[in-house]
Symmetry: C2
Subunit: 243 residues, 2 copies
DNA sequence: GGATGAATGTCGCCC
DNA sequence: GGGCGACGTTCATCC
């Protein structure tokens, strides 16, 4: 259902009816304000406004992947006419945040029932962890997996193993480029085991590592193992979808 | 400009013409596949597809703020007809990633010239840093600001100061809740100064701090100062935009 | 709801 | 382009 250049009252009706069942798209000249943890406003300009049934409100402009202004799922959206103008107001309760869109002109309103599917994504860090658990020799010979996602003081280690000498091996996995953050994370986990009196060492397994991260890694006495994440995870899937 | 239920060839023409000048919105029943660092696919369903002039491609469904599948700015988008069907293909070069949208039916195509404005956002961490620099007594009495965004080994300290005793005070600022990550960051920076032979201590300034972060903070001998970020930054702005 | 960390994160800044 | 960190991050998962 789509209507070109509707009067404000009709636009408001279309939005309020359409937002319950699916997705509403509004294009028009508007001013937008956001107020909450931070605050922002956009002067008059033509924009794309999307209202989803889960409460999501998105205001997109001509550039960038991210909306300029938004409210996340769980917000409450209402459309009404104020001083002859269409107003779309979105309220998020916690934290309390308001987005107000005041239209000077409405080019277009469309409402559709769209899908809500489960996305099957292959090639995430989780997939890489699973692949490594199935074949620990990708990391080093003689590893015996002790656990996966093992909780520690703060957080969890991706893979916990024992090496041939019986030492704990704490393994931190990153899909792509590992930065210093990954190194600190690993160092922290290894330290936790050592403080408990265990013999422990740390291995960072990633597609790559930044130069500065490698410096830190050496300083902490940790090891780096390079893997090809695509080979271990998405290769098969990729070949079936790429054209 | 909007066309309802266009045949595939017309839809392709509208998309290729419209993507150059502004923003194109397509709603229709489609299958979508993504292949690159990871891989994913969506079976047939009605979705909202957005094509921006900067190369952004977004595929939205009925829920969530984030697109289900996307390609970021800088990608190349092309629409064409393949086996009688409208296909929108987006290619990103580095890393190489492809998104393919094959339409079974097109409900409508709309193209608009939309704005591309500068967003003025008030109340960010940067704003909080500036407010604290203007009034260091919010942190503690007798602080003398030495520098802002001071580069260190890896990264930069938000505020560097000296206290009444002449010691360096490394100040890490978080707008809202500080987690253990912020504490580790601060500990790392303080350590850098100490290793150089300076007398240094660390202060975490944030709206709040998580319980576990506070434990780490104490263990590292750091201090926490609580601030109200809104009071220091957005309060005035907020009152002028909220309705 | 809090805690924790991943994300095809995106985005901006600085070198 | 790489490094680095913020983001009104969003999101899933676990407790």
């Amino acid at each position: 259902m789509y209507v070109a250049s509707p009067p404000p009252s009709e636009a408001a009706g279309l939005i309020n009816a359409g937002k319950k069942r699916g997705l509403v798209v509004v294009v028009g000249v508007c001013e937008v304000s956001y107020s909450g943890r931070a605050a922002a406003s956009l002067g008059p300009g033509r924009r794309l406004v999307i209202i989803k049934r889960d409460g999501t409100l998105l205001v997109h402009e001509a550039e960038k992947a991210q909306p300029r202004i938004w409210n996340p799922p769980g917000s409450s959206t209402a459309a009404y006419v104020e001083e002859g103008r269409l107003v779309v107001k979105s309220v998020r309760q916690r934290p309390f945040e308001i987005v107000r869109v005041v239209f000077h002109a409405v080019d277009f309103v469309a409402a559709f029932e769209v899908s809500s599917t489960d996305l099957v994504l292959v090639g995430t860090e989780k997939d890489l962890v699973e692949a490594l658990v199935r074949n620990p020799s990708f990391i080093e010979e003689g590893l015996e997996i002790v656990g996966v996602e093992v909780p520690v003081e703060a957080g969890h280690v991706d893979i916990l193993a024992r090496d041939k000498e019986g030492r704990y091996v704490v393994i931190e996995v990153k899909r792509d480029l590992a930065t210093h953050e990954a190194v600190f994370q690993l160092a922290r986990y290894v330290e936790t085991y050592k403080r408990k009196g265990h013999a422990a060492r740390g291995v960072l397994v990633a597609g790559d590592i930044s130069a500065s991260a490698y410096e830190y890694l050496k300083r902490f006495g940790l090891q780096f193992v390079k893997v090809n994440p695509r080979e271990l995870t998405v290769a098969t899937y990729k070949s079936t979808t790429e054209k």
